[in-house]
Symmetry: C2
Subunit: 265 residues, 2 copies
Amino acid sequence: MSESARPDIGSGGPGRGGGRRRFIGVGVGPGDPELVTFKAARVLRTAGVILVPATEASADGPGRAERIIADVVPDGAARIRRIPFSMAQRRGVGARRADSWRASADAAVEAFGSGCRTVAFATVGDPAVFSTFSYLRATLARRMPDVDYELVPGITAMQALAAASTTPLAEGREILALVPATVGPDRLGRLLDVADSAAIYKGGRTLPEVLRALRERGRRAVIGTDVSLPDQRLVDLDEIDADETLPYFSAVLTTPERTITGGRI
Amino acid sequence: MSESARPDIGSGGPGRGGGRRRFIGVGVGPGDPELVTFKAARVLRTAGVILVPATEASADGPGRAERIIADVVPDGAARIRRIPFSMAQRRGVGARRADSWRASADAAVEAFGSGCRTVAFATVGDPAVFSTFSYLRATLARRMPDVDYELVPGITAMQALAAASTTPLAEGREILALVPATVGPDRLGRLLDVADSAAIYKGGRTLPEVLRALRERGRRAVIGTDVSLPDQRLVDLDEIDADETLPYFSAVLTTPERTITGGRI
């Protein structure tokens, strides 16, 4: 955990790692900069270029990943490249999403071309969990087949929500599932019939049908928005209206009623 | 992320947090000390006492959580208390498990009694994911009803395995499940019929039936042991014998075959 490593600012010469070019998906956690790992911080501090998603909602200001990085890598601003990801793209408009991957790949190609050996792509949460990293990787791999890919895990919204509500996600012989609300009510229902706990992502506009599925099964749940940040909101399923929708950075967590050795958890 | 905070070494007087006593489950990640978060490190550096599980396998030496802490909190040794957790207890011998919780609760009661305001319980992975923290909490709550409970999330073995094998856990409309092998083959099979990806924990001695369930469904999978540590082993499902068993710190990850915009991920 040395803090002495210096950024790989492009000089054209081969950098660390025997000259191999590395594209690293870095999970920066749910929002609180303290929930970044030492490894993520080291990679961000040493990468030649850091790509960050910039959404329409953030207009010209920094998005969530960039705000986290500003805290962890205070001198990193000059190495950050904002990639436009509109909220519409996140909702699955295929052609526009491909545009975003292409813009990210363009930025990576440019960074490698200018001599960087290491390019980081910062992602909220974990780069292996509902992240755009793997799409971007596929896009870049077709243009630069000789790049190595790495992942640095990060704390997910689900884990932050469990911590904030002091709710165990899974214990003993329980099954925990992560499911995007976009699977639709039928698959969600089938899943809830076999999983004890579930973290439901991307609830946003489909929240009413998610809540209906939970209520039909007599499930208890907590809904978290901007969890781990100062404006965090935690709401119980009982307190939420049937037709409410949620901001993008929200998650729903349902867990079983537990009575362990006499104490409700 | 101030590094200046000092340990809350018991003096009998009220400490930070207005004198409330805090019992904090701290996730220290899968094994690599770099996969600890800044928050976990801060809590461990400032807690008056740090409880760590000590298994039979580690005999009188440090267990995995303690080895991680030794790296992150080099001057913390005097504040560490080893709690005996035998492997047999982990496998579910009820009375013995209750003994472990009681020993942990005893150590916490003693620490609070000697004036500590903050006691940490370090857990490999995340304290909300198949951790003993919630059992311990229930045991302690009956003895000291006025203690506050907090969780600090940590990187799970599943996330480390995904990173080590550069395998996305879930993307798009996929469902990811975490399941202990101890649910048995029937429930595991039902789950694999609805979940796209699954991380199977506690495979150990039941690995043969887990592998059978995966092979019956034509699933691909990677098996990781001691992931993120120098002696990490990653083995493909194809390369493993049908009757093999696994050490305790192993996980099985099955993901769908993916072909995104032309590239296999």
